[in-house]
């Protein structure tokens, strides 16, 4: 097949996809209308399981298996990064020099660190009630730790960040999700079915497995982000190629 023929095949395919997309778009409910067939059913199901945040009910109850896939993607991606960005044989580690931080920056970051950390944990814990959840809260909590890098320097961050523990935490979070899903099997129903007592709507212990899965995701994501950033920071700050500055 020459170049011209291939171009025609591509154009044919593109035209087909475009036609299908336009046809599908005309059948969609109009933007901003009151007709939400999927939304109405999802909210109904969420309230039936005593989960105030309907989004959390979709993510961790009705579509919990999808979330397992997404979590595994993050887990695999971080694993790949750890392997790719490890210290190679022709590289060596240097100790970064302590940096001078302006006093206002230091004060601001040190005050914000505990506030951000608590905010992240709050978002994880209240995932079944208010917007947010394990993923959002996990990222916030993980970035909170890195305020120490801004406030002091890299060595201070390394001291409060035992990387091995965070790597284990990443795996434990992933495993906790899998095992909580298996609880449905023990209860005699399908994998990842919400089989726990549902509790009172709008209380912290409501939604059955939703808060547990949220906590598992929160742990996995927080640890994954810390490990990911640690590998990037190591490469940017500490690891040098052999022969550099010799």
């Amino acid at each position: 097949m020459n170049r011209r023929q291939r171009l025609w095949v591509l154009l044919l395919g593109l035209a087909g996809v475009a036609a299908l997309l336009v046809a599908a778009a005309f059948r969609l409910p109009t933007f901003g209308s009151d007709f939400h067939p999927y939304g109405d059913r999802a909210v109904h199901e969420a309230l039936a399981r005593h989960t105030a945040n309907a989004i959390a009910a979709v993510n961790f109850d009705q579509r919990a298996f999808d979330t397992l896939g997404e979590e595994s993607i993050l887990f695999g991606a971080v694993l790949g990064t750890v392997v790719l960005l490890r210290q190679a044989r022709d590289e060596h580690q240097v100790t970064p020099a302590p940096a001078r931080v302006a006093a206002p920056v230091r004060r601001y970051a040190l005050v914000l660190l505990p506030v951000t950390l608590v905010t992240g944990l709050y978002i994880v814990a209240h995932g079944q009630l208010t917007p947010g959840g394990g993923f959002q809260g996990g990222v916030v909590a993980a970035t909170a730790l890195h305020l120490l890098y801004i406030a002091v320097d890299y060595r201070a961050l390394e001291r409060i960040r035992p990387l091995g523990l965070f790597e284990v935490g990443d795996a434990v979070g992933e495993a906790a999700y899998l095992i909580t899903g298996a609880a449905g099997l023990l209860a005699g129903t399908a994998y990842l079915t919400n089989a726990l007592p549902l509790g009172t709507l709008d209380s912290l212990a409501s939604g059955g497995t939703v808060p547990l899965l949220n906590a598992a995701i929160g742990m996995e994501v927080a640890c994954a982000v810390v490990v990911l950033l640690a590998r990037f920071l190591d490469q940017a700050v500490e690891i040098e190629e052999e022969g550099d500055r010799s």
């Binding site: 901003g32 917007p131 959002q136 990222v139 990911l228 990037f232 920071l233």
Partner: protein, 93 residues
């Protein structure tokens, strides 16, 4: 009123996205990407999707630009060291 806010947020997203593509320098691109994340957060909030807005704020406007900046720093340091090594090699003979 709500339509006006949505239109405004969409325009902001379009402007920020164009800026992120138009800027060619990687370190500045990270900043533009962060701004794009902020405008997207605004759009999702206006469209009453606070869950997505939170994810976007945390990942799109904080985490991704940070990873880009760290990669840029590593690449720059590498090329700087290489230039220095070449200069030393030239001075030696």
């Amino acid at each position: 009123m709500a339509d006006l806010l949505i239109a405004l947020a969409l325009l902001l997203v379009a402007a920020a996205a164009t800026a992120a593509v138009a800027v060619r320098e990687p370190a500045r691109q990270a900043l533009a990407l962060s701004l794009l994340g902020l405008t997207l957060t605004l759009l999702f909030t206006v469209l009453q999707a606070p869950d997505v807005a939170l994810s976007q704020l945390a990942v799109g406007s904080a985490l991704t630009p940070l990873l880009v900046l760290l990669s840029v720093r590593k690449a720059r340091r590498r090329s700087l060291d290489r230039v220095r090594a070449e200069q030393q090699a030239e001075e030696r003979p």
